[in-house]
Amino acid sequence: MSARVNVTTGGLSTTVQDAGRPGQYAIGMPPSGAMDQYSYRVGNLLVGNDEKAASLEATYIGPSLEFTDDRLVAVTGGDAAVTLNGESIPTWEAVAVAAGDVLEFGMITSGARPYIAISGGVEVPDYLGSRSTYTLVGLGGHEGRKLADGDTLALGEAPGTGTAGTRVADELLPTFRSEVEVRTVIGLCSYRLTDDAMKSFLSTPWKVTKDADRVGYRLRGGSLDFVEREQPFGAGSDAANVVDLGYPIGSIQVPGGDEPIVLLGDAVTGGGYATIGTVISVDRDLFGQAKTGDTISFRAVEIDEALAARAERRQLLDRVREQVS
C-alpha cells in the first residue's frame, strides 16, 4: 500500500497547494498556488523537498494529521501552537514523525495561514501542470475541494535528503504584523480616480473585512470618488464600470468607490470594474498572512522598486537553500 497521511480533522479551510498553475489565464483560470509563497517554499526546503512540491495550506485553524510512516514535517507560515502527540514542537524546523504520530494545531497567534510541508510531498493528481486546489470550479488538489474530516492523502516517496532539526537563521524568517504596508504599482485604469481619491487611497489605513479569501481581500475604511465622464460604449453606466478587461493578480478594484478589493491566487481573471493599481508580486504574500481586522496600507512604487524587491526575495531564498543543504 502506498504511503499516505490521514486527515483526522480538516481544519477551517485546508487545501493542497503548490507553486501554482500558470499559463491558463487566457481561458479564465487563475494560477492558484500557495498564498504565501515564501513560507510555503521554505517549508519544502526544510524537509528536503523540491521547493515547489505540494504542501497543505491551512487557514486560521489547522488540520489534525495522523502519519502512517517515517517522514519529516515542517510547519511554516502563520504562527500557531503545534503539537506532535500532544507535545509542543517547534515551527520553521524539520521534525521527524513516525507511523501513528498525530500533528495538531492550536489557535493562530499571528499571520493567517500555516503551511505543512511533508517530505515526499502530497501526491494528489497533477491537473494542467499543478497540484494546487482551485475550489471555485472544483479542480486540482484533493478532489478539487478543501480537506474534510476522514480524508486520506497519498504522499510521494520521501527524497531522503532532509535532516530532522534543520532550521534556518531567524533573520530569514518573516514576521507577521497586524498592520502591514504593501508596495503597489499605481496604474491600469487609475485615471478613473480623482487626484484627491488617489491621495486618499494611498493614505488610508484599510481594514480587512470578513470577505477575505483566496480569491481576494475586500477592504473598508474610506470612500473614493471617480472622475465624472460620459461612460464609454460597452462599459455600463456606473462610474466604476469599464469595458470588461483583464485583471492582473494583485490588482485592486473599487466597485462602488468604498470597498477596494485586492485579487489574489484564485483571482477572477477579468471583469468590468476599473482597476487602479497592482500589489507587487513579493507583497502578495502579505495578504496570505493578513486576517480579518488587520490593517493594510498601500505605498506607491515604480516598476524598478518592484524588480528590486523581487531580486531581494530571490537572494533570501538562495540563502535558505544554502543553509538547508
Binding site: Y25, A26, I27, V137, G138, G234, G271, T278
Partner: protein
C-alpha cells in the same frame, strides 16, 4: 475598417508580472480585432518568459517573467507589434466557427436567483428582463428576448472564471443592447445562467458571484473540467475568442431534452466553419447575419 478611429494604445505595468494594454476605453470591433492581431502575433513569436497572453474586449494583458524578459523590452516589442498591425485592414477575414447555443429565456432558475437580490438592483420593482426591455426601448419583454435571440454574437474575451465567454452583439451600435451591471454584485448566480452587462452577453460556467443582469439559462456546458463530453476533447473550455454564437430561444421541452442529452454524454453543439468579414459586416450587418445563420442551419 474605418468605422472607429482608435486612440494611441496605453501601456501599463500591472505590478512586476503583468502588462496591461488598453487599445481603447470604448468597445468596438476594431479595438477587439486589433487586440487579437497583436496577441496572435506575440503567440507566434514563442518568446521565452511569456507566461499568459490574454486578449480582452478592447485591451489585452500579458503575464511574463521579468527575470527572463525585461519589462521595458516587452513594452517596446508590444509597441512595435502595434505599429506593425496598424489599422485593421478592409480585407481582414476571421476564420472561425458559428455555434448554436440554446437558451431558455425567462427561465425559473435565474428568475428565482434574481428575485433574491432585488436590493442590489437599479430597479428593485422590476425584473431584470422588464428593466432591460425598458431601458433599451422595447415595448415588451418578448420583443427584448427576440432581439437577443435573433442575430448572433461574437466572443471577444474569455475570463472571470474558466470558460466564460464575453460576447459582443453583431448589430449596428444603435441596435446593440446595453445594460448596467448590478449596483452591488450578487453572491449567487446559477450555473449556465445567461446574462448581459454593459454591451456583453455571458454564460456563467459555474455557480458563483456575478453582477450581470440575468435573462435565461442554457442547458449546455461551456466548461467541462473532467473533459468527458465530446465537444471538450481538446480543451476544458468550449468557447474561443472569435467564435460566433447564436443564443437561440428554446422552450422548456427542448431544454429538458437537451439536458438529458448532455447528461448522457450524447450532446454535440451544432457548429459550422465560417469566414467573417468585419468590413462587410459594417456595410450591411443584416446580410452578413443572414448568411451566417443560413450556414449554421443549412
Amino acid at each position: 475598417m474605418t468605422s472607429t478611429q482608435l486612440p494611441p494604445a496605453r501601456y501599463e505595468y500591472g505590478g512586476d508580472e503583468f502588462i496591461f494594454v488598453e487599445i481603447d476605453e470604448q468597445m468596438s470591433m476594431e479595438a477587439n480585432f486589433k487586440a487579437m492581431m497583436i496577441t496572435n502575433e506575440l503567440t507566434e513569436r514563442r518568446l521565452d518568459g511569456i507566461v499568459d497572453i490574454c486578449p480582452s474586449n478592447a485591451s489585452y494583458m500579458i503575464r511574463y517573467d521579468p527575470d527572463v524578459l525585461a519589462p521595458g523590452d516587452l513594452v517596446a516589442l508590444l509597441q512595435e507589434l502595434d505599429e506593425k498591425a496598424g489599422h485593421v485592414p478592409d480585407d481582414f477575414v476571421l476564420h472561425t466557427r458559428i455555434v448554436d447555443v440554446p437558451v431558455l429565456y425567462n427561465d425559473p432558475w435565474t428568475h428565482e436567483a434574481m428575485m433574491r437580490f432585488r436590493d442590489r438592483h437599479q430597479d428593485p420593482e422590476s425584473t431584470d428582463l422588464e428593466y432591460g426591455a425598458r431601458v433599451n426601448g422595447f415595448d415588451s419583454v418578448q420583443a427584448f428576448i427576440d432581439h437577443m435571440a435573433a442575430n448572433p454574437w461574437i466572443v471577444t474575451m474569455l475570463g472571470f472564471v474558466p470558460g466564460l465567454p464575453f460576447c459582443y452583439q453583431l448589430e449596428p451600435r444603435e441596435r446593440q443592447i446595453q445594460v448596467p451591471k448590478y449596483v452591488r454584485p450578487r453572491t449567487f448566480t446559477p450555473e449556465r445562467a445567461f446574462g448581459i452587462g454593459g454591451a456583453f452577453a455571458v454564460i456563467y460556467p459555474v455557480q458563483g458571484a456575478g453582477g450581470y443582469q440575468l435573462y435565461g439559462m442554457s442547458p449546455t456546458p461551456v466548461l467541462n473540467v473532467k473533459q468527458d463530453h465530446p465537444d471538450f476533447e481538446h480543451s476544458i473550455v468550449f468557447p474561443k475568442a472569435g467564435d460566433i454564437l447564436r443564443f437561440r430561444a428554446i422552450d422548456q421541452a427542448e431544454f429538458d431534452e437537451t439536458r438529458r442529452l448532455v447528461e448522457s454524454g450524447e450532446f454535440r453543439y451544432r457548429q459550422r466553419e465560417v469566414e467573417f468579414h468585419p468590413a462587410r459586416f459594417l456595410q450591411d450587418p443584416q446580410a452578413v447575419n443572414d448568411s451566417l445563420l443560413e450556414v449554421l442551419y443549412r
